[in-house]
Protein backbone atom coordinates (compact mmCIF):
# COMPACT_ATOMS: atom_id res chain seq x y z
CA UNK A 1 0.00 0.00 0.00
CA UNK A 2 1.41 3.42 -0.88
CA UNK A 3 1.78 6.08 1.76
CA UNK A 4 -1.14 8.01 0.27
CA UNK A 5 -3.39 4.99 0.49
CA UNK A 6 -2.19 4.29 4.01
CA UNK A 7 -2.95 7.91 4.98
CA UNK A 8 -6.45 7.78 3.55
CA UNK A 9 -7.21 4.50 5.30
CA UNK A 10 -5.90 5.98 8.55
CA UNK A 11 -8.09 9.07 8.16
CA UNK A 12 -11.25 7.09 7.52
CA UNK A 13 -10.76 4.43 10.17
CA UNK A 14 -9.06 6.30 12.98
CA UNK A 15 -11.07 9.53 12.71
CA UNK A 16 -14.32 7.59 12.28
CA UNK A 17 -15.22 9.27 9.00
CA UNK A 18 -18.05 6.82 8.55
CA UNK A 19 -19.80 8.26 5.52
CA UNK A 20 -16.78 8.32 3.23
CA UNK A 21 -14.40 5.68 1.82
CA UNK A 22 -10.63 5.95 1.25
CA UNK A 23 -11.15 6.01 -2.49
CA UNK A 24 -13.42 9.05 -2.25
CA UNK A 25 -10.74 11.22 -0.64
CA UNK A 26 -9.00 13.34 -3.27
CA UNK A 27 -5.21 13.64 -2.98
CA UNK A 28 -5.25 17.41 -3.13
CA UNK A 29 -8.47 18.18 -1.23
CA UNK A 30 -8.05 20.30 1.92
CA UNK A 31 -8.28 18.22 5.07
CA UNK A 32 -9.35 21.08 7.34
CA UNK A 33 -12.12 23.63 7.01
CA UNK A 34 -13.47 22.84 3.53
CA UNK A 35 -12.91 19.44 1.94
CA UNK A 36 -12.84 16.80 4.64
CA UNK A 37 -13.90 19.30 7.32
CA UNK A 38 -11.59 18.17 10.12
CA UNK A 39 -11.13 20.38 13.19
CA UNK A 40 -8.55 21.20 15.88
CA UNK A 41 -9.17 18.01 17.87
CA UNK A 42 -8.67 15.93 14.69
CA UNK A 43 -5.44 17.85 14.11
CA UNK A 44 -3.88 16.77 17.40
CA UNK A 45 -5.22 13.26 16.90
CA UNK A 46 -3.52 13.22 13.49
CA UNK A 47 -0.21 14.16 15.09
CA UNK A 48 -0.49 11.06 17.29
CA UNK A 49 -1.60 8.89 14.33
CA UNK A 50 1.35 9.99 12.21
CA UNK A 51 3.64 9.05 15.11
CA UNK A 52 1.93 5.69 15.53
CA UNK A 53 1.63 4.67 11.86
CA UNK A 54 4.75 6.28 10.38
CA UNK A 55 7.00 6.77 13.38
CA UNK A 56 7.37 10.49 12.67
CA UNK A 57 7.16 13.11 15.37
CA UNK A 58 5.51 16.48 14.80
CA UNK A 59 6.76 18.80 17.52
CA UNK A 60 4.24 21.60 17.24
CA UNK A 61 1.23 22.69 15.23
CA UNK A 62 3.29 25.12 13.14
CA UNK A 63 4.96 22.08 11.64
CA UNK A 64 1.65 20.26 11.55
CA UNK A 65 -0.28 22.99 9.78
CA UNK A 66 1.55 22.75 6.44
CA UNK A 67 1.89 18.98 6.61
CA UNK A 68 -1.87 18.60 7.09
CA UNK A 69 -2.99 20.73 4.19
CA UNK A 70 -3.92 17.72 2.08
CA UNK A 71 -3.15 14.03 1.59
CA UNK A 72 -0.46 15.06 -0.91
CA UNK A 73 1.12 17.46 1.57
CA UNK A 74 1.13 14.85 4.31
CA UNK A 75 2.61 12.16 2.06
CA UNK A 76 5.35 14.57 0.99
CA UNK A 77 6.08 15.50 4.60
CA UNK A 78 6.33 11.85 5.60
CA UNK A 79 8.64 11.04 2.70
CA UNK A 80 10.91 13.98 3.48
CA UNK A 81 11.14 13.18 7.19
CA UNK A 82 11.66 9.45 6.53
CA UNK A 83 14.68 10.22 4.41
CA UNK A 84 16.08 11.98 7.47
Amino acid sequence: MSNKEKIKKMLVEELNLEEITSREIKDDAPLFGEGLGLDSLDAVELVVLVQKHFGIEIKDMEEGRSAFESVNALAEFIEKRSRG
Binding site: D39, S40, L41, V44, V47, V48, D60, M61
Partner: protein, 399 residues
Protein backbone atom coordinates in the same frame (compact mmCIF):
# COMPACT_ATOMS: atom_id res chain seq x y z
CA UNK B 1 -31.42 37.41 36.50
CA UNK B 2 -32.52 38.23 40.02
CA UNK B 3 -30.44 39.30 42.96
CA UNK B 4 -29.41 36.46 45.26
CA UNK B 5 -28.83 36.72 48.99
CA UNK B 6 -25.13 36.85 49.98
CA UNK B 7 -23.76 33.73 51.65
CA UNK B 8 -21.25 34.10 54.48
CA UNK B 9 -17.81 32.51 54.27
CA UNK B 10 -16.21 31.98 57.67
CA UNK B 11 -13.10 30.01 56.81
CA UNK B 12 -10.87 28.83 54.01
CA UNK B 13 -8.07 26.31 53.62
CA UNK B 14 -5.71 25.65 50.74
CA UNK B 15 -2.92 23.19 49.95
CA UNK B 16 -1.02 23.26 46.67
CA UNK B 17 2.50 23.63 45.36
CA UNK B 18 2.50 27.28 46.44
CA UNK B 19 1.99 26.41 50.09
CA UNK B 20 0.79 23.97 52.71
CA UNK B 21 -1.83 26.44 53.95
CA UNK B 22 -3.62 29.48 52.59
CA UNK B 23 -1.32 31.95 54.42
CA UNK B 24 1.64 29.93 53.14
CA UNK B 25 0.39 30.22 49.54
CA UNK B 26 -0.29 33.94 49.90
CA UNK B 27 3.18 34.55 51.28
CA UNK B 28 4.94 32.69 48.48
CA UNK B 29 2.84 34.44 45.82
CA UNK B 30 3.58 37.92 47.14
CA UNK B 31 7.20 36.82 47.40
CA UNK B 32 7.08 36.06 43.67
CA UNK B 33 8.42 32.53 44.01
CA UNK B 34 7.51 29.38 42.15
CA UNK B 35 9.07 26.00 41.44
CA UNK B 36 7.68 24.11 38.50
CA UNK B 37 9.70 20.93 37.95
CA UNK B 38 9.38 17.67 36.02
CA UNK B 39 7.18 15.21 37.91
CA UNK B 40 8.81 13.20 40.69
CA UNK B 41 6.03 10.85 41.74
CA UNK B 42 5.66 9.28 38.31
CA UNK B 43 7.64 8.92 35.09
CA UNK B 44 6.65 8.91 31.45
CA UNK B 45 8.10 7.97 28.08
CA UNK B 46 8.25 11.57 26.84
CA UNK B 47 11.76 12.74 26.07
CA UNK B 48 10.66 16.30 26.77
CA UNK B 49 10.10 17.11 30.42
CA UNK B 50 6.96 19.14 31.02
CA UNK B 51 7.10 20.98 34.35
CA UNK B 52 4.38 20.41 36.92
CA UNK B 53 3.53 21.82 40.35
CA UNK B 54 3.57 18.90 42.77
CA UNK B 55 2.61 19.07 46.43
CA UNK B 56 5.52 17.85 48.58
CA UNK B 57 4.75 15.22 51.23
CA UNK B 58 5.74 17.61 54.06
CA UNK B 59 2.84 19.93 53.12
CA UNK B 60 0.30 17.38 54.35
CA UNK B 61 -0.72 17.75 58.01
CA UNK B 62 0.95 15.11 60.22
CA UNK B 63 -2.51 14.03 61.49
CA UNK B 64 -3.29 12.93 57.95
CA UNK B 65 -0.75 10.28 56.96
CA UNK B 66 -0.87 8.56 53.60
CA UNK B 67 -3.54 5.87 53.53
CA UNK B 68 -3.42 3.31 50.76
CA UNK B 69 -7.18 2.89 50.98
CA UNK B 70 -7.77 6.57 50.19
CA UNK B 71 -6.91 8.44 47.00
CA UNK B 72 -4.44 11.31 47.02
CA UNK B 73 -7.22 13.60 45.78
CA UNK B 74 -9.38 12.80 48.80
CA UNK B 75 -6.39 13.26 51.09
CA UNK B 76 -5.81 16.73 49.62
CA UNK B 77 -9.50 17.58 50.05
CA UNK B 78 -9.48 16.49 53.69
CA UNK B 79 -6.28 18.44 54.40
CA UNK B 80 -7.77 21.65 52.99
CA UNK B 81 -10.99 21.04 54.94
CA UNK B 82 -9.03 20.63 58.19
CA UNK B 83 -7.45 24.04 57.69
CA UNK B 84 -10.76 25.64 56.67
CA UNK B 85 -12.56 24.35 59.74
CA UNK B 86 -9.74 25.58 61.98
CA UNK B 87 -9.91 28.95 60.26
CA UNK B 88 -13.68 29.07 60.82
CA UNK B 89 -13.25 28.16 64.49
CA UNK B 90 -15.43 25.05 64.17
CA UNK B 91 -14.67 21.90 66.11
CA UNK B 92 -16.10 18.50 65.37
CA UNK B 93 -18.60 18.62 68.22
CA UNK B 94 -20.12 21.86 66.90
CA UNK B 95 -19.99 20.58 63.35
CA UNK B 96 -21.75 17.31 64.08
CA UNK B 97 -24.53 19.09 65.96
CA UNK B 98 -25.57 20.74 62.70
CA UNK B 99 -26.62 19.71 59.22
CA UNK B 100 -23.41 20.05 57.20
CA UNK B 101 -23.20 19.50 53.45
CA UNK B 102 -20.11 18.86 51.34
CA UNK B 103 -19.68 19.92 47.71
CA UNK B 104 -16.33 19.24 46.05
CA UNK B 105 -15.21 19.61 42.46
CA UNK B 106 -12.73 17.21 40.88
CA UNK B 107 -11.55 15.55 37.70
CA UNK B 108 -9.01 12.85 38.58
CA UNK B 109 -10.71 12.18 41.91
CA UNK B 110 -13.64 10.57 40.11
CA UNK B 111 -11.74 8.68 37.46
CA UNK B 112 -11.02 4.97 37.69
CA UNK B 113 -7.73 5.10 35.81
CA UNK B 114 -5.37 2.90 37.74
CA UNK B 115 -2.86 1.86 35.08
CA UNK B 116 -1.25 -1.04 36.90
CA UNK B 117 -4.62 -2.65 37.49
CA UNK B 118 -5.71 -2.13 33.92
CA UNK B 119 -2.49 -3.39 32.37
CA UNK B 120 -2.83 -6.65 34.22
CA UNK B 121 -6.50 -6.97 33.41
CA UNK B 122 -5.76 -6.50 29.72
CA UNK B 123 -3.10 -9.17 29.77
CA UNK B 124 -5.75 -11.57 30.95
CA UNK B 125 -4.42 -11.54 34.49
CA UNK B 126 -6.58 -11.30 37.57
CA UNK B 127 -5.41 -8.06 39.17
CA UNK B 128 -5.86 -7.44 42.86
CA UNK B 129 -9.02 -5.52 43.74
CA UNK B 130 -7.48 -2.97 46.11
CA UNK B 131 -7.29 -0.16 43.49
CA UNK B 132 -11.01 -0.69 42.87
CA UNK B 133 -11.76 -0.69 46.56
CA UNK B 134 -9.77 2.52 46.93
CA UNK B 135 -11.65 4.10 44.04
CA UNK B 136 -15.03 3.14 45.53
CA UNK B 137 -14.01 4.55 48.88
CA UNK B 138 -12.54 7.79 47.53
CA UNK B 139 -15.31 9.88 46.04
CA UNK B 140 -13.97 13.28 47.18
CA UNK B 141 -17.13 14.79 48.67
CA UNK B 142 -18.16 11.49 50.25
CA UNK B 143 -14.64 11.06 51.69
CA UNK B 144 -14.75 14.46 53.33
CA UNK B 145 -18.22 13.78 54.74
CA UNK B 146 -17.14 10.40 56.07
CA UNK B 147 -13.89 11.71 57.58
CA UNK B 148 -15.65 14.43 59.58
CA UNK B 149 -18.83 12.46 60.29
CA UNK B 150 -21.17 14.74 58.35
CA UNK B 151 -24.65 13.74 57.26
CA UNK B 152 -25.97 16.58 55.12
CA UNK B 153 -26.20 16.73 51.31
CA UNK B 154 -23.11 15.59 49.42
CA UNK B 155 -22.13 16.34 45.83
CA UNK B 156 -19.04 15.75 43.72
CA UNK B 157 -19.00 18.08 40.74
CA UNK B 158 -17.11 16.83 37.70
CA UNK B 159 -17.24 19.84 35.38
CA UNK B 160 -13.59 19.59 34.34
CA UNK B 161 -11.65 22.80 35.00
CA UNK B 162 -14.72 24.74 36.20
CA UNK B 163 -15.57 22.21 38.92
CA UNK B 164 -14.11 24.14 41.86
CA UNK B 165 -15.98 27.34 41.00
CA UNK B 166 -19.18 25.43 40.28
CA UNK B 167 -18.94 23.55 43.59
CA UNK B 168 -18.85 26.84 45.50
CA UNK B 169 -21.81 28.14 43.49
CA UNK B 170 -23.81 24.96 44.16
CA UNK B 171 -23.00 25.02 47.89
CA UNK B 172 -24.06 28.67 48.15
CA UNK B 173 -27.43 27.71 46.66
CA UNK B 174 -27.77 24.92 49.25
CA UNK B 175 -27.28 27.52 52.02
CA UNK B 176 -29.77 29.95 50.48
CA UNK B 177 -32.21 27.10 49.87
CA UNK B 178 -32.01 25.96 53.50
CA UNK B 179 -30.72 22.49 52.65
CA UNK B 180 -28.04 22.69 55.33
CA UNK B 181 -26.66 24.95 58.07
CA UNK B 182 -23.08 24.79 56.89
CA UNK B 183 -21.60 23.77 53.57
CA UNK B 184 -17.97 22.82 52.95
CA UNK B 185 -17.31 23.77 49.35
CA UNK B 186 -14.23 23.50 47.20
CA UNK B 187 -12.20 21.34 44.86
CA UNK B 188 -9.38 18.82 44.82
CA UNK B 189 -7.26 17.09 42.21
CA UNK B 190 -4.02 15.11 42.16
CA UNK B 191 -1.37 14.92 39.46
CA UNK B 192 -1.26 11.66 37.57
CA UNK B 193 0.07 10.08 34.38
CA UNK B 194 -3.30 10.11 32.67
CA UNK B 195 -3.84 13.87 32.77
CA UNK B 196 -0.14 14.52 32.20
CA UNK B 197 -0.19 12.38 29.03
CA UNK B 198 -3.63 13.63 28.06
CA UNK B 199 -2.79 17.32 28.02
CA UNK B 200 0.48 16.65 26.19
CA UNK B 201 -1.45 14.71 23.55
CA UNK B 202 -3.66 17.77 23.06
CA UNK B 203 -0.47 19.76 22.50
CA UNK B 204 -1.42 22.37 25.10
CA UNK B 205 1.24 21.58 27.70
CA UNK B 206 4.29 23.80 27.90
CA UNK B 207 7.81 22.46 28.42
CA UNK B 208 8.64 25.73 30.18
CA UNK B 209 7.23 27.38 33.29
CA UNK B 210 3.79 28.64 32.36
CA UNK B 211 3.34 32.20 31.10
CA UNK B 212 -0.34 33.18 31.39
CA UNK B 213 -1.39 35.91 28.93
CA UNK B 214 2.17 36.39 27.68
CA UNK B 215 2.83 36.85 23.95
CA UNK B 216 5.16 33.85 23.95
CA UNK B 217 3.01 31.54 26.03
CA UNK B 218 3.23 27.91 24.95
CA UNK B 219 0.65 26.14 27.06
CA UNK B 220 -0.17 25.02 30.56
CA UNK B 221 1.69 23.33 33.39
CA UNK B 222 -0.39 20.90 35.43
CA UNK B 223 -0.58 21.19 39.19
CA UNK B 224 -2.33 19.51 42.10
CA UNK B 225 -3.95 20.63 45.31
CA UNK B 226 -7.19 21.44 47.06
CA UNK B 227 -9.05 24.32 48.63
CA UNK B 228 -12.19 24.35 50.73
CA UNK B 229 -14.32 27.21 52.05
CA UNK B 230 -16.80 27.11 54.92
CA UNK B 231 -20.18 28.60 54.00
CA UNK B 232 -22.76 29.26 56.72
CA UNK B 233 -26.35 30.42 57.01
CA UNK B 234 -26.86 33.82 58.63
CA UNK B 235 -28.48 32.15 61.64
CA UNK B 236 -25.50 29.93 62.31
CA UNK B 237 -22.84 32.60 61.84
CA UNK B 238 -24.74 35.17 63.96
CA UNK B 239 -25.35 32.52 66.59
CA UNK B 240 -21.64 31.76 66.73
CA UNK B 241 -20.82 35.47 66.76
CA UNK B 242 -18.15 34.69 64.19
CA UNK B 243 -16.58 37.31 61.93
CA UNK B 244 -17.20 36.60 58.29
CA UNK B 245 -14.13 36.24 56.17
CA UNK B 246 -15.92 36.87 52.92
CA UNK B 247 -19.26 36.60 51.13
CA UNK B 248 -20.32 34.64 48.08
CA UNK B 249 -22.27 37.44 46.43
CA UNK B 250 -23.07 35.88 43.08
CA UNK B 251 -22.51 32.89 40.83
CA UNK B 252 -23.02 32.47 37.13
CA UNK B 253 -22.39 29.62 34.72
CA UNK B 254 -22.99 28.73 31.09
CA UNK B 255 -21.90 26.44 28.29
CA UNK B 256 -20.32 27.59 25.02
CA UNK B 257 -21.99 24.67 23.21
CA UNK B 258 -19.20 25.01 20.65
CA UNK B 259 -16.40 22.43 20.95
CA UNK B 260 -15.15 19.78 23.33
CA UNK B 261 -11.72 21.27 23.89
CA UNK B 262 -11.55 24.75 22.32
CA UNK B 263 -13.27 27.81 23.83
CA UNK B 264 -15.73 29.73 21.66
CA UNK B 265 -13.71 32.47 19.94
CA UNK B 266 -16.17 35.25 20.73
CA UNK B 267 -16.25 34.36 24.44
CA UNK B 268 -20.06 34.60 24.47
CA UNK B 269 -20.41 31.90 27.12
CA UNK B 270 -17.96 33.59 29.47
CA UNK B 271 -19.69 36.92 29.01
CA UNK B 272 -23.02 35.32 29.88
CA UNK B 273 -21.61 33.74 33.03
CA UNK B 274 -19.95 36.98 34.17
CA UNK B 275 -23.18 38.88 33.58
CA UNK B 276 -25.22 36.35 35.53
CA UNK B 277 -22.77 36.38 38.46
CA UNK B 278 -22.67 40.16 38.60
CA UNK B 279 -26.44 40.52 38.32
CA UNK B 280 -26.87 37.97 41.09
CA UNK B 281 -24.41 39.92 43.22
CA UNK B 282 -25.92 43.27 42.30
CA UNK B 283 -22.47 44.52 41.23
CA UNK B 284 -21.39 46.84 38.47
CA UNK B 285 -18.03 46.63 36.69
CA UNK B 286 -16.70 49.76 38.42
CA UNK B 287 -17.12 48.10 41.81
CA UNK B 288 -14.85 45.17 40.95
CA UNK B 289 -11.50 45.44 42.72
CA UNK B 290 -9.76 42.73 40.63
CA UNK B 291 -10.30 39.57 38.62
CA UNK B 292 -8.61 36.24 39.32
CA UNK B 293 -8.64 34.92 35.77
CA UNK B 294 -8.54 31.32 34.60
CA UNK B 295 -5.37 32.14 32.66
CA UNK B 296 -4.01 28.66 31.92
CA UNK B 297 -1.28 29.91 29.59
CA UNK B 298 -2.69 28.18 26.50
CA UNK B 299 -2.86 30.29 23.33
CA UNK B 300 -6.63 29.78 22.97
CA UNK B 301 -7.80 30.26 26.55
CA UNK B 302 -5.80 33.39 27.27
CA UNK B 303 -6.74 34.99 23.96
CA UNK B 304 -10.48 34.45 24.41
CA UNK B 305 -10.52 35.21 28.12
CA UNK B 306 -8.21 38.18 27.79
CA UNK B 307 -10.43 39.75 25.14
CA UNK B 308 -13.55 39.32 27.24
CA UNK B 309 -11.85 40.89 30.25
CA UNK B 310 -10.58 43.78 28.13
CA UNK B 311 -14.06 44.41 26.80
CA UNK B 312 -16.39 44.04 29.74
CA UNK B 313 -14.06 44.61 32.69
CA UNK B 314 -11.63 47.20 31.27
CA UNK B 315 -9.12 48.92 33.51
CA UNK B 316 -9.69 46.43 36.29
CA UNK B 317 -6.52 44.76 37.60
CA UNK B 318 -6.45 41.06 36.78
CA UNK B 319 -4.03 38.20 37.22
CA UNK B 320 -3.63 34.50 36.77
CA UNK B 321 -2.34 32.67 39.82
CA UNK B 322 -1.74 29.52 37.76
CA UNK B 323 1.79 30.77 37.35
CA UNK B 324 2.23 29.88 41.04
CA UNK B 325 0.12 26.73 41.26
CA UNK B 326 -0.07 25.22 37.82
CA UNK B 327 -3.45 24.21 36.46
CA UNK B 328 -4.99 22.17 39.23
CA UNK B 329 -8.03 21.15 37.16
CA UNK B 330 -10.98 20.43 39.48
CA UNK B 331 -9.27 22.24 42.35
CA UNK B 332 -8.42 25.38 40.37
CA UNK B 333 -11.66 27.28 40.84
CA UNK B 334 -11.63 26.64 44.57
CA UNK B 335 -7.93 27.47 45.06
CA UNK B 336 -8.44 30.67 43.13
CA UNK B 337 -11.54 31.56 45.15
CA UNK B 338 -9.50 31.12 48.34
CA UNK B 339 -6.76 33.36 46.91
CA UNK B 340 -9.42 35.92 45.98
CA UNK B 341 -10.71 35.97 49.56
CA UNK B 342 -7.18 36.42 50.88
CA UNK B 343 -6.34 39.18 48.40
CA UNK B 344 -9.54 41.08 49.16
CA UNK B 345 -8.56 41.00 52.82
CA UNK B 346 -5.04 42.12 52.10
CA UNK B 347 -6.22 44.85 49.74
CA UNK B 348 -3.61 43.83 47.20
CA UNK B 349 -2.84 41.25 44.53
CA UNK B 350 0.53 39.75 43.60
CA UNK B 351 2.10 40.11 40.17
CA UNK B 352 0.78 37.72 37.56
CA UNK B 353 3.92 35.61 37.43
CA UNK B 354 5.14 34.41 34.04
CA UNK B 355 3.82 37.45 32.17
CA UNK B 356 6.25 39.84 30.46
CA UNK B 357 5.07 40.89 27.03
CA UNK B 358 1.56 41.93 26.00
CA UNK B 359 -0.04 39.86 23.26
CA UNK B 360 -1.59 42.31 20.78
CA UNK B 361 -4.33 39.78 20.07
CA UNK B 362 -5.37 40.01 23.70
CA UNK B 363 -4.75 43.74 24.35
CA UNK B 364 -5.33 43.43 28.10
CA UNK B 365 -2.31 42.98 30.36
CA UNK B 366 -2.36 41.40 33.80
CA UNK B 367 -0.66 43.13 36.72
CA UNK B 368 3.14 42.91 36.59
CA UNK B 369 3.85 43.87 40.19
CA UNK B 370 2.15 43.74 43.57
CA UNK B 371 -0.83 46.04 43.15
CA UNK B 372 -3.01 47.70 45.74
CA UNK B 373 -6.67 47.10 44.98
CA UNK B 374 -9.59 49.19 46.10
CA UNK B 375 -13.07 47.92 46.46
CA UNK B 376 -14.94 45.30 48.36
CA UNK B 377 -15.79 42.93 45.54
CA UNK B 378 -13.75 40.63 43.27
CA UNK B 379 -14.35 38.03 40.56
CA UNK B 380 -12.86 34.56 40.20
CA UNK B 381 -13.59 32.73 36.96
CA UNK B 382 -12.98 29.39 35.28
CA UNK B 383 -13.30 28.08 31.72
CA UNK B 384 -13.39 24.35 31.11
CA UNK B 385 -13.27 21.57 28.55
CA UNK B 386 -16.73 21.03 27.19
CA UNK B 387 -17.16 24.80 27.02
CA UNK B 388 -18.21 25.26 30.64
CA UNK B 389 -17.76 28.75 32.08
CA UNK B 390 -18.17 29.45 35.79
CA UNK B 391 -17.83 32.76 37.62
CA UNK B 392 -18.16 33.74 41.27
CA UNK B 393 -18.27 37.18 42.78
CA UNK B 394 -16.80 37.35 46.27
CA UNK B 395 -17.17 40.18 48.77
CA UNK B 396 -14.75 41.41 51.40
CA UNK B 397 -15.62 40.29 54.91
CA UNK B 398 -15.01 41.69 58.35
CA UNK B 399 -11.59 40.22 59.07
Amino acid sequence: MSRSAPVAVTGAGCICAAGATLPGCVESMFGGSRQPLPPVRFSTGHSVKYPVFEVPEEFFPPELPEDERLSRTSRLAIAATMEALGDAGLDLVQLRSMRVGVCIGTTVGSAMNNEEFYREYRRGGRPDMSPIERFLRSNPAASVARHFGLTGPVQTVVNACASGTDAIGVAASWIRGGLCDIALAGGADELCRVTYNGFISLMISSNEPVRPFDLDRKGLNLGEGAAVMVLETDNVVEGRKRKKRSWVLGYGSSCDAYHLTAPKPDGAGLRQAIREAMDAGGCKPDEIAFVNAHGTGTPDNDRVEGRVIAEILPDIPFLSTKGFTGHTLGAAGAIEAAFTVACLEAGRVPASIGFETTDPEVSARPVTETTTVNGGVAISQSLAFGGNNAVIVLGKGER
